[in-house]
Assembly symmetry: C2
Homo-oligomer: 336 residues x 2
């Protein structure tokens, strides 16, 4: 690493101590404006870049946050990252991305590896098959963490979610008002409050209209894409529901294929409605009625709160911020 320009280089060139240089670079009140200016000018001229490792080693500040999500190739999460990145960039923070692929062990490995001081804080959307929250309970004691969208209820950290209960309720009501008599449910995230709330909203609406569901009308999410397709197909063939409501996007698209396979017309024979942030939802055949979450805003909100915590300007660890989703009615549920 010959030729690297460090504080030492600047100090020698200006005939001042490295302490002065360091302080000047950090805009310390201890240094005269005159000296600061000289240091800044030379730093610019020599293209000095602060060594992040050294800086962090000394100051315990990494200017880096980690984002742990199930899958990046998913509209919701990539939009959320977009929001996170926007906030991070404004603060000159760096963003590490980790994908768990819905695998709880990988999730644990990631969080463990982040305990060594690599990042200042963490944003997490929990993997769908994570059952044991003990691990997270330990984590939040050691480093600032904000959970978003996929969250546990009883963890001592800020959580950013959407109005899952209400939006599932409204969506189900919409189907019922369209005349649906038998509404199936594609269940995911069942161990998280997120999934529980969505299902509860569905149940509430049914109850209110004196409708029932049976276990056979519920399809549980499977890690295996092919199996999801098979399970949905089996359910639709045997139960013959007139509507399906999906708690996640990944389970909605297979419905289109199932309908084709079984020669069912959407929406005449089968209406489909899903939690989804697909930007092609309006272009599908037929266009898909969605519960659209404000993914970008969720990301911004989560990152914003995390930075407030890092700035020590936020002190309500247990708060749950709820943003509103919107039901966008399209052809897949048209009452026609």
């Amino acid at each position: 690493m010959k030729g690297t320009v460090t504080v030492k280089t600047l100090a020698k060139e200006l005939n001042i101590s490295i302490a002065t240089v360091s302080k000047a670079l950090n805009d310390s009140y201890e240094i005269s404006l005159e000296t600061k200016q000289k240091v800044w000018d030379l730093a610019k001229k020599l293209k000095y870049e602060r060594n992040p490792s050294a800086s962090n080693l000394r100051s315990h500040k990494t200017k880096t946050i980690a984002v742990i999500i199930p899958e990046i190739a998913n509209n919701f999460f990539s939009l959320a990252i977009n929001g996170i990145e926007e906030i991070a960039r404004k603060r000159d923070y760096h963003v590490l991305i980790y994908q768990t692929h819905e695998n709880s062990e990988i999730e644990i490995a990631f969080t463990d590896s982040l305990l060594s001081g690599r990042v200042d804080g963490i944003l997490i959307s929990v993997s769908s098959n994570t059952n044991n929250k003990e691990h997270f309970k330990e984590l939040v004691k050691k480093i600032p963490v904000v959970f978003f969208d996929r969250v546990f209820e009883d963890i001592d950290a800020v959580k950013i979610t959407t109005d899952d209960y209400e939006s599932a309720y409204n969506a189900t009501c919409h189907l019922i008002e369209c005349g649906c008599k038998k509404i199936a449910y594609l269940f995911a995230l069942n161990n998280l409050i997120t999934g529980k709330n969505r299902f509860a909203g569905y149940q509430k609406a049914l109850k209110e209209y004196n409708m029932v569901y049976t276990d056979e009308m519920i399809v549980n999410y499977d890690k295996d894409t092919g199996r999801n397709y098979e399970n949905i197909k089996a359910m639709v063939s045997s139960q013959k529901p007139d509507a399906v409501i999906s708690s996640i996007e990944d389970l909605a698209l297979p419905c289109y294929y199932v309908a084709r396979e079984l020669n069912l017309n959407i929406p005449k024979d089968l209406k489909i409605l899903s939690f989804s942030n697909l930007n092609t939802a309006p272009l599908l055949n037929p266009s898909l009625t969605t519960i659209e979450q404000p993914a970008f805003e969720i990301g911004k909100e989560a990152a914003g709160i995390l930075f407030k915590i890092l700035d020590k300007k936020y002190f309500e660890p247990n708060e749950n911020h709820i943003l509103k989703s919107s039901l966008i009615k399209r052809d897949s549920t048209s009452c026609g």
Copy 2:
């Protein structure tokens, strides 16, 4: 940071020097198996995690790579990241993500900030409106860089691309063979070899069939989404092409809306074909014929090469790796 367990802690506990501990942790040949085992056991017991800053400061190895892309909320790039992440995780590397939002200045700011030793290497897909490659020429001298998909031709670095020329050629031939007489082109990435090759493939096919295009049939990509829609609409209304081929996904979807607006039937009045990795392409109305790039594989390949360079096992800086895209014919170009 009280209670942090460091090499010092382990050394004291075992009554050996910190050098021995460090070497043991790094599985050095200088240390007896017996001692190593003791260190490993204690490290595990006390949940020792190596401090990355200190380690990096000394060894100049960050175990981190950066990925600079235009936009994360894009199927191609999120799949590519997926591939990159898979390779990185296998090597216990961390992945920093930076989005340029097609902004050249942000791109420069990112690369500059990565010069301070924050990462061991960089993967870049160039922003569409980056004209000046001088900056990248400097970059590749200072740190290992692999370019993917959106690349410059004359830069001293490995590049991973797809067979843009051939696939655009084949796609255009497909349209011509379907009887199209007037094929418009939605032009993007015109300053990159990627975009140039795609356009050249289109031109080649036209020439071969003794067809021509005029400048009025070419729509150039604009950063503003709304303007793209307007430009396409204006072109289609005035030129009345019977087919449109889009060099990027973002320009294909507006075509659907334009067709609706102008009451044009796809594919009867207007055929649409696009470079795209949309997973909903088969479900669109009508399903979209795409040139699908092996995004995941591109990511894996790019990361793989970067690690080979970091391992000093790769020495052909100027090589261009070309992966094959596939033309997937669907209803939007059906010959009826």
